[in-house]
C-alpha cells in the first residue's frame, strides 16, 4: 500500500515539474500569442494591449506559472486563448474520443500482439515465418501510411468503414474508430508480437521448463504454468510502455481520420501558443503515462512474487 502511495506522490512531483517545463518552453518559443491570434492581420495596438491584459500575458513568467498552478489546484484549468472557452469544458469534449481510440488500440495490441507472439513462439514452422514477416512489415510501416492504406482498402474500396469522424453513441463510435485504432496499434502490435515470441522461445528452453517436462508434467500445463506465465514479465513492460505512448502518438491518426481528440487539439494549441490548453493536455499525457506505468508495475508484482516482496518491504 505504501508502495502505491509513494508512487502516487512521485507522480504528482513529476506532474508539477513537467508542467513547469512545458510552461517554460511555451514561454520561450518565438512569437507572441496575441499575434498568432490575429493571424497576421494588422490590428490596432490598443486591441493587442487589451488581449494581453485579458490573459495577463504581461505578468512575469513565475507569476503566471504560480497563478496557473494555484488555479489548477482549485480545479480551474483556465480559458483557451484561441477560442475563449473553459479549458476543462474543452477537454471534456475531446477526451472521450482519444480515450476510446487508445483503449481500442490497446486491446488490439494485447490481443493481436501477444496472440500472434504466442502462436509464433509455440508453433514454429511456416506460421512462425509468416508472423515474423508480418511483424517486420507492421513495424516498418509508419502510422500515417498505415492510415492511408487502411482507408483506401476498407473505406474507399470495400466501403465497410466511414472515412472520417468519430461517430455518436457507443457502437457508432466503435465502428468509426476501428480503422484508426488499427492504424495506431499496428507498429506496437508488431513489436509486442516479436518480443512475446522471443520471450516464449527463451522460456520454452529454460531449465525449469525442461525439468518440468522431464518430471512428466503435461506439455500444455508446462506451457501455461511456466512458459507463457514467465514470458509475460518482459511483455507486460513493453505493452505498458507502448500503450502509454499511444496517447502521445494518437495525433497522427486523429489528423488523418479527422477525429476530435486531444491530439489534434494539442497540435493546434501549440501552434497558437494557447498556454492553458497545452498545459492541460501535457498534464493529462504525463498523468496517463504515470498511471499506466503504475498499473504495469502492479501487474508485474502480481505475476512475480519476488517483485512484491521487494517493494512492500
Amino acid at each position: 500500500m505504501t508502495f502505491i502511495l509513494r508512487r502516487l506522490a512521485a507522480l504528482v512531483g513529476v506532474l508539477i515539474a513537467s508542467s513547469f517545463l512545458v510552461f517554460a518552453a511555451m514561454y520561450a518559443a518565438p512569437g507572441s500569442p496575441e499575434n498568432f491570434l490575429v493571424q497576421g492581420r494588422t490590428v490596432s495596438p490598443e486591441v493587442l494591449a487589451a488581449i494581453r491584459e485579458q490573459y495577463s500575458l504581461d505578468d512575469p513568467f513565475l507569476v503566471r506559472f504560480w497563478n496557473w498552478l494555484t488555479n489548477v489546484l482549485h480545479g480551474d484549468f483556465g480559458r483557451s486563448l484561441a477560442n475563449q472557452q473553459d479549458v476543462g469544458e474543452l477537454l471534456a469534449g475531446r477526451l472521450p474520443t482519444t480515450l476510446m481510440l487508445v483503449t481500442l488500440a490497446a486491446i488490439i495490441i494485447i490481443v493481436l500482439g501477444i496472440g500472434m507472439g504466442i502462436v509464433a513462439g509455440t508453433r514454429g514452422g511456416v506460421v512462425d515465418k509468416i508472423i515474423l514477416l508480418g511483424s517486420n512489415l507492421g513495424f516498418a510501416i509508419p502510422t500515417f501510411f498505415a492510415a492511408l492504406i487502411l482507408m483506401s482498402i476498407f473505406s474507399v474500396g470495400l466501403g465497410w468503414f466511414p472515412v472520417f469522424g468519430s461517430g455518436e453513441g457507443f457502437f457508432d463510435r466503435v465502428w468509426h474508430l476501428t480503422l484508426p485504432a488499427f492504424a495506431l496499434a499496428l507498429p506496437s502490435s508488431a513489436v509486442v508480437a516479436r518480443i512475446t515470441r522471443t520471450s516464449i522461445r527463451e522460456e520454452r528452453d529454460s531449465e525449469h521448463s525442461v525439468m518440468a517436462r522431464a518430471r512428466g508434467v503435461a506439455e500444455s500445463l508446462v506451457m501455461r504454468r511456466h512458459v507463457i506465465r514467465n514470458s509475460m514479465l518482459p511483455v507486460s513492460t513493453i505493452v505498458g510502455v507502448h500503450i502509454a505512448g499511444l496517447i502521445a502518438g494518437s495525433f497522427v491518426v486523429e489528423y488523418a481520420f479527422t477525429l476530435d481528440g486531444i491530439g489534434t487539439l494539442l497540435v493546434h494549441a501549440v501552434q497558437r501558443k494557447d498556454f492553458a490548453v497545452v498545459q492541460a493536455i501535457a498534464i493529462v499525457l504525463v498523468a496517463a503515462f504515470g498511471i499506466i506505468n503504475l498499473l504495469v508495475d502492479l501487474f508485474y508484482a502480481s505475476i512475480d512474487p519476488r517483485v512484491k516482496v521487494e517493494t512492500t518491504r
Binding site: P30, G31, S32, N35, F36, L37, V38, Q39, G40, R41, T42, V43, S44, P45, E46, V47, A49, A50, I51, Q54, R79, A82, N83, Q84, Q85, D86, E89, L90, G93, R94, T97, L148, M151, S152, S155, V156, G159, P162, V163, F164, G165, S166, Y255, A256, F257, T258, L259, D260, G261, T264, L265, H268, V270, Q271, R272
Partner: protein
C-alpha cells in the same frame, strides 16, 4: 550502370514533358482567368442535408469581429449579414441597409432595413447596428478588424429611427465596400451582452439575421447550419434544411471523403487532392473567378532588397510553368499585384491599365539587362521562407530558383514550421535576418485601391518591407478622395504601374477558386465570394 541511370532519366524526362504538354495543349499553360466561372448550375430542388468541408480547419470563433480568415469567414458568411452584401459577380448590393447616401465624401448615411428579425424573433433595430459597428472601436472587444480602415471612422451615430450615419476622418472611396465584411456585420446587442466571455465560442455562439442559424457545434469535428425559415429575403431562402460543415484538413482524407461521396462538396480543395478529383466520377471540379494571389514578399534585407534584383527575378521566372505544374493548370501567371478581374467598378480602365504592364512571359535576356542596374552583392544567396508543411511552396520556390540560376542569382527555399511562419506576418522580430517569404493572399473586397494601399502604401497593413514612395502615397490618397469610378480607376492604375516597377512583392500566380461538388448537389457560387456571401443558401438538389 551509368548508362542505365541515363536511360531511366531520359524516360522520366519524356514522361514529364508528356504530362506537361498534355496538361496544356493551348499556348497558355495555366487557366485563362477570363474563362473562369462565377456561378454553378442553379439548384432545382431542396435537400434535407448537405455535408460540406472546410479544408482550413475549425473556426476559432463565430464572432464576426474575430473572423478574419478562410475558416471563420466561410462559416460566418452564412450566419451573419452586413449592411451591404457582396454578390458572386463581385458587385456590391444593399444588405441589411436598404440604401446608402453619401452627401459628401466623409459621410455615409445608411437607411436600415425594417422587418428583419434575428433568429430568436427579436427585431433588428438601428441600435443593434450602431452597437455592432462600434464594437470595432472598443479595444476590450478585441476586433481583428480594428486599425486601418476602421481607425479612420470618426463617429457612428443613430440619426433617425431607421438611420445610422458613419462619419470618416479623411475621405476613403473604398469604405462602403467594407460593409460587406465583418466591419459592417450586425449582431444582436442583447445577446452579445448576455453571452459575456463565451460569445462566439462553441458554448455561447452568436445571434444574427442570416439565412442559416447555428446548430450543433461538435468541436473538432463539424458545425451544423440550420435553415432560418423566417429569413427576411424571401428570394434568397436557403435551399437545404441543414448544412453540416466538417473540418477535415488532410489532403488525402479530403480527396477520399469527396471521392466516396461522404462529403458533398468543398471550396479550396487542396492541390494534393486535385489529380484524383479531376477524374472523379462522383462529382465535378469547378474553377471560379478569384481574388487571390500567390506572391513573394520582400522584407527589405539582403540581395532581395534591390528592386532591380526583384524585377529581374520576376522576368526570369517561368510563372506559366508554375501555374501549369504546381497548380495543375488551376492558376494563371500574375501580370499585376492586383488579381485579374478583382474589381467591382472601372472595368474598362482596369483592363486597359493591366494591358500596359509587362507581359508574363519569361525573358532571360531582358532580366540580365535589368540586373545590370543592381547595386548589391549578387553572389549572396536569396533565402525565401515558406511553411515547410506546404510542400507546393517549395516547388514554387524551386522554379523561381531555376530562373534565378539562368541569370546568375542563387535562390534557396528555407522551410520553417507553420507555427513559426505565421509570425512572419505579424512579428517584425520574426522577419529579421530573412530576405523574403511567400504568401497566399486575397483581396478583402473587390477594390484594387484597398488592396494596393495595403501593400505599397506607407504603413499599409501588408507592407512588410516598409516600402514608402511619396508619389504612390499621394496618388492613392487622391484616388481615395475621388468619387468618379472611372477617374479613380485611372489613378489606381497609375499607382499599380509604379508598384510593378519597384515590386515590393513579386506576384507569381492568380489561383482560381477550386470548388468540388458531388453530382447530387449544385448551386454554390464558383467565384471568390464565400467569405462574405451566404453561399450555402444557394446549395440544393441538382435533380440528378
Amino acid at each position: 550502370m551509368k548508362k542505365q541511370a541515363i536511360a531511366i532519366a531520359s524516360i522520366l524526362a519524356i514522361a514529364l514533358t508528356g504530362c506537361a504538354s498534355g496538361a496544356g495543349n493551348d499556348t497558355t499553360a495555366g487557366v485563362d482567368t477570363n474563362d473562369l466561372l462565377t456561378l454553378t448550375p442553379a439548384a432545382t430542388g431542396e435537400l434535407d442535408l448537405v455535408t460540406w468541408n472546410l479544408p482550413f480547419g475549425e473556426p476559432a470563433s463565430l464572432d464576426p469581429i474575430k473572423s478574419f480568415n478562410y475558416a471563420e469567414n466561410t462559416v460566418v458568411a452564412n450566419l451573419c449579414e452586413g449592411l451591404m452584401q457582396l454578390q458572386p459577380d463581385f458587385t456590391i448590393e444593399p444588405g441589411l441597409a436598404e440604401k446608402v447616401d453619401t452627401p459628401d465624401n466623409l459621410t455615409y448615411i445608411y437607411t436600415i432595413r425594417q422587418g428583419v428579425e434575428f433568429w430568436d424573433g427579436q427585431e433588428m433595430t438601428a441600435d443593434d447596428v450602431v452597437y455592432s459597428l462600434s464594437r470595432h472601436q472598443n479595444a476590450d472587444e478585441g476586433s481583428y478588424w480594428a486599425g486601418g480602415l476602421v481607425g479612420n471612422i470618426a463617429s457612428i451615430e443613430k440619426t433617425a429611427d431607421w438611420e445610422v450615419t458613419v462619419t470618416l476622418t479623411k475621405p476613403d472611396a473604398a469604405f462602403n465596400s467594407y460593409m460587406v465584411t465583418p466591419v459592417g456585420t450586425v449582431i444582436q446587442q442583447d445577446f452579445r451582452e448576455a453571452a459575456g466571455e463565451s460569445f462566439g465560442n462553441p458554448t455561447g455562439k452568436v445571434m444574427c439575421t442570416g439565412p442559416f442559424s447555428v446548430g450543433d457545434w461538435d468541436q473538432g469535428q463539424s458545425i451544423s447550419l440550420i435553415k432560418n425559415d423566417n429569413y427576411w429575403n424571401s428570394d434568397k431562402q436557403a435551399q437545404s434544411a441543414q448544412v453540416d460543415i466538417n473540418f477535415i484538413v488532410d489532403a488525402a482524407a479530403i480527396a477520399t471523403a469527396l471521392d466516396t461521396g461522404a462529403i458533398d462538396g468543398s471550396y479550396d480543395v487542396p492541390l494534393g487532392a486535385l489529380k484524383s478529383l479531376q477524374s472523379s466520377t462522383e462529382g465535378s471540379l469547378y474553377l471560379g473567378n478569384s481574388l487571390q494571389l500567390v506572391a513573394i514578399i520582400g522584407i527589405g534585407n539582403g540581395v532581395f532588397a534591390d528592386p532591380a534584383v526583384r524585377q529581374a527575378l520576376m522576368m526570369a521566372t517561368d510563372r506559366d510553368a508554375i501555374a501549369a505544374t504546381v497548380f495543375e493548370g488551376t492558376a494563371s501567371a500574375s501580370r499585376s499585384l492586383i488579381p485579374n478581374n478583382g474589381w467591382a467598378y472601372g472595368d474598362s480602365e482596369f483592363t486597359d491599365g493591366r494591358e500596359e504592364l509587362a507581359p508574363t512571359t519569361t525573358d532571360i535576356e531582358g532580366a540580365k539587362e535589368v540586373l545590370k542596374d543592381a547595386t548589391v552583392d549578387l553572389t549572396e544567396p536569396i533565402k525565401i521562407v515558406y511553411p515547410s508543411e506546404r510542400t507546393y511552396y517549395a516547388d514554387i520556390i524551386s522554379e523561381i530558383s531555376n530562373g534565378a540560376r539562368a541569370i546568375g542569382l542563387t535562390v534557396e527555399p528555407a522551410g520553417v514550421p507553420s507555427a513559426q511562419f505565421g509570425a512572419f506576418f505579424s512579428d517584425p522580430a520574426a522577419r529579421e535576418g530573412h530576405d523574403a517569404f511567400v504568401t497566399y493572399n486575397y483581396m478583402d473586397v473587390p477594390d484594387p485601391l484597398a488592396f494596393l494601399r495595403g501593400i505599397v502604401g506607407t504603413g499599409g497593413s501588408q507592407n512588410y518591407n516598409e516600402y514608402s514612395n511619396s508619389t504612390i502615397d499621394s496618388v492613392l490618397d487622391e484616388a481615395a478622395a475621388t468619387e468618379d469610378d472611372g477617374e479613380r480607376a485611372e489613378l489606381v492604375n497609375e499607382a499599380q504601374a509604379a508598384a510593378m516597377e519597384d515590386l515590393p512583392w513579386i506576384p507569381i500566380v492568380d489561383p482560381a477558386v477550386r470548388l468540388f461538388m458531388n453530382d447530387r448537389v449544385t448551386g454554390a457560387p464558383a467565384s471568390f465570394v464565400y467569405l462574405y456571401y451566404p453561399w450555402a443558401a444557394d446549395l440544393g438538389a441538382s435533380g440528378e
